[in-house]
Every structure is written in structure tokens, then in C-alpha cells.
């Protein structure tokens, strides 16, 4: 396995990192309408369910035995994703955020996320396959603070000098969802 994809130049890495930092700043700044401008209209935005399957005895000794993938109930599985959304549902969430009666965010949540481990795993034409991790702190008056951790598996497409998000799969690391909502923009 190549450790480095020759298509991943320092310039490309830098511009994609800058894209993610800007995205994080928009989301923590509650600029969801601006953020929607980073989203491709054909987006697939999903969050797999995550269970505790049985270990397969025949896989013992192999990394496959305890792989993360076998815990996920994603779009291609017969299981139940937590979120399976397109542009319209994301728009609905954005619209909701700016209504007076979005009570779960009244007053709005204070979020601060650190996005890191940005790894461009593949480049095909104008599409960029990018993994990134996030830690997110979430606070709202009246409820305990929450902490979110997960991985994003994105496909970005070039859009002039910038990028748009064509696909995002969010793998959450919590065992039970002991948080007010998993409906955030992650």
C-alpha cells in the first residue's frame, strides 16, 4: 500500500484543510445558510447506525474480526441508518434553525469543533475522497454539556477555486446516543 498518493500535493492538502476549517467556522458560527452553499445539490448525507454484532469465530486472529465496518448499519446495509438525507432535508434543517420556535435550539446550542486527521485517500478527476475526525463540544442552558466524537467520510468535488460536499458519511463513536440530538450539522 502506498503511504502517499502522488496526486496529493502539499498545495492540495492545504486547500482541502482550509476548506474544512472554513466549514467548521461557519457551523460553529451558526452560519448554516452560508454552509449550505458548500453543499452540492446532489449530496448524500448519512449517519450509519452502530451496533454490537457477534464476533465471528472464523475471523479470530484477523483484523476483520473487530473492524469498525462490521458495526455499521449504513446506506448499503439491510440495517437502519440514523440519518439518510439529501439536499432538501438539509435545507429543511437549515430553515428550521432560523425559526422562532425551533425549541431544541432556543437558546441556540454553543458548539465548538476541532476537525483534524484530514487525509485525502483518493483523487479521481475532480473528486476528492477525504477522511476527517472531529471532536465537538455542545452546551445549552438547562441541560448537561455534551461531547461528540466521530469520523467523516467525504467526497468533495471541485467548484471553481473551492470545493463542494457531494457525499458525507458520519460515523459516530458513542455506544448509546446519550446526547440531546444527533441532528446537528456534523
Amino acid at each position: 500500500m502506498n503511504n502517499y498518493n502522488s496526486a496529493v500535493t502539499p498545495e492540495l492538502q492545504l486547500s482541502i484543510e482550509q476548506f474544512y476549517y472554513r466549514e467548521a467556522r461557519l457551523l460553529d458560527g451558526r452560519q448554516y445558510q452560508t454552509w449550505l452553499g458548500l453543499v452540492d445539490p446532489a449530496i448524500s448525507y448519512s449517519m450509519p447506525g452502530r451496533g454490537n454484532p457477534m464476533v465471528n469465530n472464523r475471523e479470530h486472529g484477523n483484523e476483520a474480526m473487530i473492524s469498525v465496518e462490521r458495526e455499521l448499519e449504513g446506506l448499503d446495509s439491510d440495517g437502519l441508518p440514523i440519518r439518510d438525507e439529501g439536499f432538501l432535508v438539509l435545507s429543511l434543517r437549515v430553515e428550521r434553525s432560523f425559526k422562532m420556535n425551533a425549541w431544541a435550539e432556543t437558546p441556540p446550542a454553543r458548539t465548538r469543533r476541532i476537525v483534524g486527521n484530514i487525509e485525502i485517500t483518493d483523487v479521481t478527476g475532480e473528486q476528492f475522497f477525504v477522511l476527517s475526525n472531529f471532536h465537538l463540544f455542545y452546551a445549552r442552558p438547562g441541560v448537561p454539556d455534551s461531547f461528540y466524537a466521530g469520523q467523516r467520510r467525504d467526497v468533495l468535488v471541485r467548484d471553481g477555486d473551492h470545493y463542494k460536499i457531494l457525499k458525507r458519511e458520519i460515523v459516530m463513536d458513542m455506544a448509546n446516543a446519550n446526547v440531546p440530538t444527533l441532528g446537528l450539522f456534523l
Partner: protein
């Protein structure tokens, strides 16, 4: 001083003390008077199709394994080793021949019988393994694929417990030629709220919709509920809410699933499938129930069902101030596989931890719990009197019936709840 149940719920359940949702002693009485004695939902037969299949469940805080035995019967047992109490099963679901305790490797058969004590190999005296199996749930029964268990072996038959609720559940479950199936693992959402509040919410509290959910629910949806909505108390603490659409209503206005994001965005093939189901619904559920377009149901004490956003939900208590709220998405069993992948999103798009709608509910439930444990407000019990006495019988709908603003669903629930707690209050 210990609170007395007669002071918690008044005689017509129009006034209920805040302590009902926050008091530790009341929570202990709920375990003894309700969860030890009432049918509790465990799962659906589609989750345990073959011998060896199992899923995890809970009865209140007690972990349960629901399995299909080699005898092809459904079994339910407590997931706790008879030797030292560890759970013998750590997976959500799967298929196995044995459950093995990690501590000393006692192993149990799929029906809970103790198979092997490895330490016996080196000892002359043998223990009587027939007495050392996992604790069985003494009563397990199912209706239309819904499996329930009860720790009281003398409990009434499940069908008697469901009573009139079968008419309303059947309007959905029998609507599809081969019933329904559960999809994937339940979404487990831990919320700082009392278990009864999510339950109330689905039991009949339709009327929070246009207010709490005004950011998402369109006015037309609220208007339709005002015009055609019913709230029914079928008896035994259950509740059912739905719209009964006019006989000349177009198929698209009645068919299950057409009103959700999934139905709206699902494309022609999904919509045609939903129309076909509706077109033949009358053959399976009769003319009245074919016109039903359900909202939400509650089955006493802690099972809920959402009709449009097809989900079953169980409110598992974790103390007075915490609930583990499980949601399963359901689909018609005979839908083509690729349509099931679309229809499964009916529930999760709007409900569950990632849903756009239920985040408002979970916020309300958390705040309700905070309001229920404050000091200096015990002379302001919660008011449950809306519509008192306005409910009436209906020629086509079993139970007591009114529009969806009537809070009779909650009064019926809390009257049964009160009786259940009064019955155990004086036990030492």
C-alpha cells in the same frame, strides 16, 4: 416523609403531582406494581426468525435475551449468569448455539437451559443443572408478530391485555398482505427524562404538534387533524389517535406513507407501491379501518407506535430521571427489498436521535423532568383536565372517543397507573 399515592393522582386524574415523574419511592413502586406485573414489549418475530436467532431487550432495567429455540419457540430470559450474575450475551443480536459467561465459562443453550459447568470436570459431585438455567420470563406471548413478556405468571392473556387496542393496531399491521418487519437494530437514545413522558407523548398527545413542532409541521397537517382527527381510549390505559378520512378522499390522502418525506421524495415507484397497498386495504381491514390514517398509539405501560413515521418505540426506565428510549423502524414485510431501503427512512428522518422533529420532543421531556423536581411548587400539580367528560362511545370505533385535544388518554393511563401503585403501596 414517604409520599402517598392517593395524594399523587386525584380521583379523576385531572391533577397529578409533579412527584409522579421525579420521586425515587414512586419509581420503586412502579417497578413492583407495573413492570413486575404487566405485559412488556420484547420484540418482533421478524427479529428471531430461525432457531438460534436472538436479540437483546429490556424489561424495565432488567436485561433480557429474546431468542428462537431449537424447538422453534420464542424464549425470553434474564441476561445474567446464575453463577455470578454477569451478562452471558454482549451482542445486540445474532445467531448462536450457546451463551457463555466470560467469568467462568458457564454456558447456556439458546433457550436459557444451563448446558455446561466447565469446573465440574474436576469434581466428583455434580450440580443439578436443571435448576440453574437463566431465569426465564415466565409468560411470553405474541400477537401479530409482536412479542411480549411478563414476570407475573398469573397475568391475563396478552390478547386480553391488548383488548380493544387490537382493533387499532390491526388497522396497521393487517393493512399489509404479510404484515410488517423490523429493520436493523433499535436506535437507543438516552434522555434525561422520566419514562412516562415519551409514553404520554405518543399515547394521545397529538395536540402539542402544531405548537412544539411549528418550525417543521405545516399548518395543513394541523388543519387535517382538526378536521378528521380522533383520540380514542380503548381501555386498560392504552391510547390511539388517527384521522378517519372521508369515504370519497383520494387514495393519496389516505394511503400510509404518502405524507412523509420518504413518500414525498421517494419517487413514482414508492408512491405506486403505497397506493396499491391502500387500494386493497379494505379487503384486509374492512371499510372503516381502511379509511384510517393513524397518528400515534400507546400500549400500556411503555410501548408506542407511530403510524406515518413507521416506528415502534419502547420507553425503558433508568431511574426517575433517565430513560433509554428505543426506536425500531418498520417496513411492510412483502415490500421489494429496494423499496424497504427507502421506506426504512420513514422513522429516522423525523424521529429518533437524528430526527428533525423529535429533537424538539426530547427537549420538552428533559425540561418536564426539571420542572417535576423543583421545590416549593407542590401546590401546583399538573393539570390533565382538558376535555373532561366530553369523550363518548362511537358506532364504528371501540372505546371512548373525542377529538385530539381531549386529555382523556392521559387520565385513563394515570388512573391505571394509580391503581397499580396503590396495590403494592402497603407491601413492606
Amino acid at each position: 416523609m414517604t409520599i402517598k399515592i392517593r395524594d399523587v393522582v386525584n380521583n379523576d386524574a385531572t391533577l397529578i403531582s409533579r412527584r409522579a415523574w421525579s420521586d425515587d419511592h414512586i419509581y420503586e413502586l412502579e417497578k413492583k406494581g407495573i413492570f413486575a406485573k404487566t405485559w412488556l414489549f420484547l420484540g418482533h418475530e421478524s427479529q428471531v426468525r430461525k432457531p438460534g436467532d436472538f436479540v437483546q431487550a429490556f424489561m424495565c432495567e432488567t436485561p433480557i435475551i429474546l431468542s428462537r429455540g431449537e424447538d422453534n419457540e420464542v424464549h425470553a430470559m434474564v441476561n445474567s449468569c446464575t453463577h455470578r450474575g454477569l451478562p452471558v450475551c454482549r451482542s445486540d443480536k445474532g445467531n448462536t448455539k450457546r451463551f457463555i459467561c466470560p467469568y467462568h465459562n458457564w454456558s447456556y443453550k439458546i433457550d436459557g437451559e444451563l448446558a455446561v459447568i466447565p469446573q465440574e470436570k474436576t469434581m466428583k459431585c455434580k450440580s443439578d443443572k436443571s435448576q440453574l438455567g437463566l431465569k426465564k420470563v415466565p409468560r411470553v406471548e405474541s400477537w401479530r408478530g409482536l412479542i411480549f413478556g411478563c414476570f407475573d405468571e398469573y397475568v391475563e392473556p396478552l390478547e386480553d391485555h391488548l383488548g380493544n387496542m387490537k382493533f387499532y393496531l390491526g388497522a396497521f399491521l393487517d393493512r399489509f398482505p404479510n404484515g410488517i418487519e423490523f429493520v436493523g437494530s433499535p436506535q437507543r437514545w438516552v434522555i434525561d427524562a422520566n419514562w412516562k413522558v415519551p409514553m404520554e407523548n405518543q399515547l394521545g398527545d397529538v395536540n402539542h404538534g402544531p405548537y412544539l413542532h411549528a418550525a417543521v409541521v405545516p399548518q395543513e397537517a394541523a388543519d387535517e387533524i382538526n378536521e378528521f382527527g380522533y383520540s380514542v381510549v380503548p381501555g386498560k390505559g392504552h391510547g390511539a389517535t388517527f384521522r378517519l378520512m372521508p369515504e370519497d378522499a383520494p387514495v393519496d390522502n389516505v394511503a400510509w406513507g404518502m405524507e412523509t418525506i420518504t413518500g414525498i421524495l421517494g419517487g413514482e415507484e414508492v408512491q405506486n407501491y403505497l397506493r396499491e397497498i391502500q387500494a386493497s386495504a379494505e379487503e384486509r381491514v374492512g371499510p372503516v379501518r381502511a379509511r384510517m390514517k393513524g397518528l400515534a398509539y400507546g400500549v400500556y405501560p411503555n410501548l408506542s407506535f407511530l403510524w406515518s413515521n413507521a416506528g415502534f418505540k419502547v420507553s425503558h426506565p433508568r431511574g426517575p430521571g433517565k430513560v433509554e428510549y428505543w426506536s425500531w423502524s418498520i417496513v411492510p414485510a412483502d415490500a421489494p427489498e429496494h423499496l424497504k431501503k427507502v421506506l426504512r427512512n420513514n422513522h429516522a428522518s423525523f424521529f429518533g436521535p437524528g430526527g428533525i422533529l423529535e429533537q424538539e420532543d426530547s427537549e420538552a421531556w428533559m425540561q418536564q423532568y426539571l420542572g417535576s423536581k423543583i421545590d416549593f411548587a407542590d401546590d401546583r400539580p399538573y393539570y390533565y383536565g382538558l376535555g373532561l367528560g366530553l369523550e363518548k362511545p362511537h358506532p364504528d370505533l371501540p372505546g371512548m372517543v373525542d377529538n385530539t385535544a381531549n386529555e382523556h388518554y392521559a387520565r385513563a393511563f394515570y388512573l391505571r397507573w394509580r391503581d397499580a401503585l396503590l396495590a403494592v403501596e402497603d407491601e413492606a
